[in-house]
């Protein structure tokens, strides 16, 4: 096992540990930390694949923004954020887990079988894949692809971001600028004042 492989296995193991911790942790903050570990390890795996840009973006967007958002929400909810005990009975849990495990294992077996078959059938089986060009995964190459080949989806995604922003504003701002609320809260005091006056 050379250094590169060792790096891969360490990152992969950490990613799996992080993922398991994210799911299994009882304390939501620890779950978020597990997620962070997973994200960092996946960024490490991206680096091993020469995808430097993707690794940096993974760190900025997921670790720097999304996990922080999670932390934020958990902290705002406060101690109530800890998971309440699962009240479902053992049988239903076992059945649910069993269905998921069976379908997951089945899918995994199918995938591995097809992958093995493909690997055996491929003519260049066993040889290492060629190294990517030196500018692979950098900003220049990516930017060029984004603004030439992928211009259409790039522009379309601006609509997606736009609608997400408007949606967030619409949902978050609703309460303050809803005139019905103001009217409702204002009205009772008025009527009460009238009652008192009469």
């Amino acid at each position: 096992m050379n250094l590169g492989q060792a790096y891969f296995w360490i990152c992969a193991a950490l990613a799996v540990i992080g993922a398991v911790a994210a799911v299994a942790a009882k304390n939501p903050i620890r779950g978020a930390m597990g997620l962070l570990l997973m994200i960092l390890s996946v960024a490490g795996l991206f680096l091993a694949l020469h995808a430097q840009f993707l690794a940096a973006i993974q760190l900025i967007v997921y670790a720097g923004a999304i996990v922080v958002l999670f932390l934020f929400v958990i902290m705002l909810i406060g101690p109530a954020a800890s998971t309440p005990p699962d009240k479902r009975g053992l049988p239903s849990r076992i059945v649910g887990a069993g269905i998921f495990a069976l379908s997951g294992i089945g899918a995994m077996v199918l995938l591995v079988r097809s992958a093995l078959a493909a690997a055996a059938a491929a003519p260049d089986a066993g040889t290492a894949p060629p190294l990517p060009p030196s500018d692979f995964g950098g900003i220049d190459t990516l930017g060029r692809v984004l603004f030439t080949h992928g211009l259409v989806p790039f522009e379309l995604s601006s609509a997606l971001l736009m609608v997400a922003i408007i949606g967030a504003v619409a949902v978050a701002r609703g309460k303050q600028s809803d005139p019905t609320v103001a009217a409702k809260t204002a009205e009772p005091s008025k009527t009460r004042a009238k009652e008192i006056a009469s």
Binding site: I29, M33, F53, A56, L59, L71, M75, D135, G138
Partner: protein, 476 residues
């Protein structure tokens, strides 16, 4: 190569730790100077008759020792794992960030350790394949001499590949910087959560929201600079500034935006809402003591250093000095060369490295001045400033930069020449400022008026001036 990498890491981390530590003292001394009091000057080392007390410089060491021996208290209901993890998470990203910062020009070893032929009568000699060859006859005359400082003489093979004075030359350098800066938030957030303390939680929430908000401005303020420099690699940015003009001249608005955002990122006054002592005890590290507190405290000072490094690299020309090029000094404005002096490679490199660290120190001092000059914002003012002032301004900066860049690009040859000359003029201005400032500082230092002296001196001096007290004898 590994050896060089280790050496580079040692330089960077050593600088970071030392200056970070020093800053804790500078900050306190500077505050006392600004507030017209004495400040810490007590800590001393006394061995027999010998007393060492360098203006209180030993306070730094004393603080460190204190942190290590102080009780490491942990609130009983704290989340043990996360409580211990948080200081590490706060400190590591700051250290990791320095990996991409170039602190000097690329060293070309074959220029550094020059093979020179000793002059022999009647021959004009040239070094070729490790031999001194007569240019005219192509005959091997003698062996060349290695001129200072010879690594070969010490048994180290002279590496012929260029050495970049940067720990990790990544091709996504700026993004790496933001990625690392973003990780710092997590440390503060979970420190506050795991302390099981309302004040800590509030501080953590404030810290996280503040850092997230200002990170946006921080990133967007650099877009204009990236457009001009045509690269996201920090070393390319520095080279561009050396060839043209320093970033502060071409992106003045971005400089102030980035500076503000960087101060806010390091959670220092006037943006120290997360640890505002009058409201939140001391924010997210209220419950921390001992070295764990020390790590937060120290990380904050190291953040000052790293943000200064980034400022210097992106806006203040990094290792560049005005008119100092790879081959020596060439004073050139437009097409006219006023003076030229070739310098050995090693001197150029050394000047560069010193210039970089010197500039960083100046920026650190500037940040310390800012800290003790401005009052703290209110929290809603902070958010308003970030989202409704800095962010729109940084967007406008991108837009204006783009338009101007396009206009200059399409204006033709004449414009390019004019811009080049303007760039040289900015170099001249920088050179003038760089000469004038230290002179002015020296003048100020030696020309202190007597009245000031009594105020800035020690309390002992003041007491002595007032006629002495019972304890003045202790001052000596």
């Amino acid at each position: 190569m590994i050896l060089w990498t280790v050496l580079k890491i040692l330089v960077m981390v050593g600088f970071l730790f030392n200056v970070g530590g020093l800053l804790t003292w500078v900050d306190r001394r500077l505050s006392s100077m600004i507030q017209d009091r004495v400040g810490p000057n007590r800590a001393g080392l006394k061995i027999g008759k010998f007393e060492l007390r360098v203006a209180g410089l030993l306070h730094t060491a004393a603080d460190g020792v204190k942190f290590f021996f102080k009780e490491d208290f942990m609130p009983p209901k704290a989340d043990k794992l996360l409580f211990s993890l948080a200081p590490i998470l706060a400190m590591v990203p700051v250290l990791a960030l320095t990996a991409v910062i170039p602190f000097g020009d690329t060293i070309s070893p074959h220029q550094l350790w020059r093979h020179v032929c000793a002059p022999v009568d009647g021959h004009v000699l040239q070094v070729l394949d490790g031999q001194c060859i007569d240019i005219a006859t192509k005959a091997i005359i003698s062996k060349p001499l290695l001129v200072f400082p010879s690594a070969a003489r010490l048994g180290i093979s002279t590496v012929q590949t260029p050495i970049e004075l940067q720990v990790a030359p990544l091709n996504v350098a700026i993004l790496y910087v933001f990625a690392m800066a973003g990780q710092g938030i997590v440390g503060a957030a979970i420190a506050g959560w795991s302390s099981d303390n309302k004040f800590s939680l509030m501080g953590a929430l404030r810290a996280a929201s503040q850092m997230v908000s200002y990170e946006v401005t921080m990133g967007l303020s650099l877009i204009g600079a990236m457009m001009l420099y045509g690269s996201v690699r920090l070393e390319d940015m520095v080279r561009w500034q050396g060839d043209n003009a320093w970033g502060i001249f071409v992106q003045p608005v971005a400089f102030f935006l980035f500076f503000t955002a960087a101060v806010a990122e390091s959670k220092r006054i006037p943006f120290d809402l997360p640890e505002a002592e009058s409201e939140l005890v001391s924010g997210y590290f209220t419950e921390y003591s001992g070295m764990k507190f020390g790590m937060f405290y120290f990380a904050e000072y190291m953040e000052v250093v790293t943000s200064s490094m980034l400022l210097v690299t992106i806006f203040l020309g990094g290792w560049q000095l005005p008119f100092l090029h790879r081959d020596g000094i060439t004073i050139q404005i437009g097409e006219t060369i006023y003076a030229a002096q070739r310098l050995p490679h090693i001197w150029v490199i050394l000047f560069g490295v010193l210039a970089f660290f010197g500039k960083v120190l100046v920026m650190c001092l500037l940040q310390a001045f800012v800290r003790w000059s401005l009052p703290r914002f209110r929290y809603d003012q902070l958010m308003k400033l970030g989202w409704t002032v800095l962010l729109p301004v940084s967007l406008a900066n991108i837009f204006v930069t783009g338009v101007l860049y396009l206009a200059c690009e399409s204006a033709g040859e004449g414009m390019a020449h004019a811009l080049k000359a303007a760039g040289d003029v900015t170099q001249a201005i920088t050179a003038a400022v760089l000469t004038f400032l230290p002179l002015w500082a020296l003048y100020g230092f030696f020309n202190t008026r007597a009245k000031d002296k009594t105020l800035i001196g020690t309390s002992g001096d003041m007491a002595a001036a007032a006629g002495g007290t019972k304890t003045t004898a202790m001052q000596g």
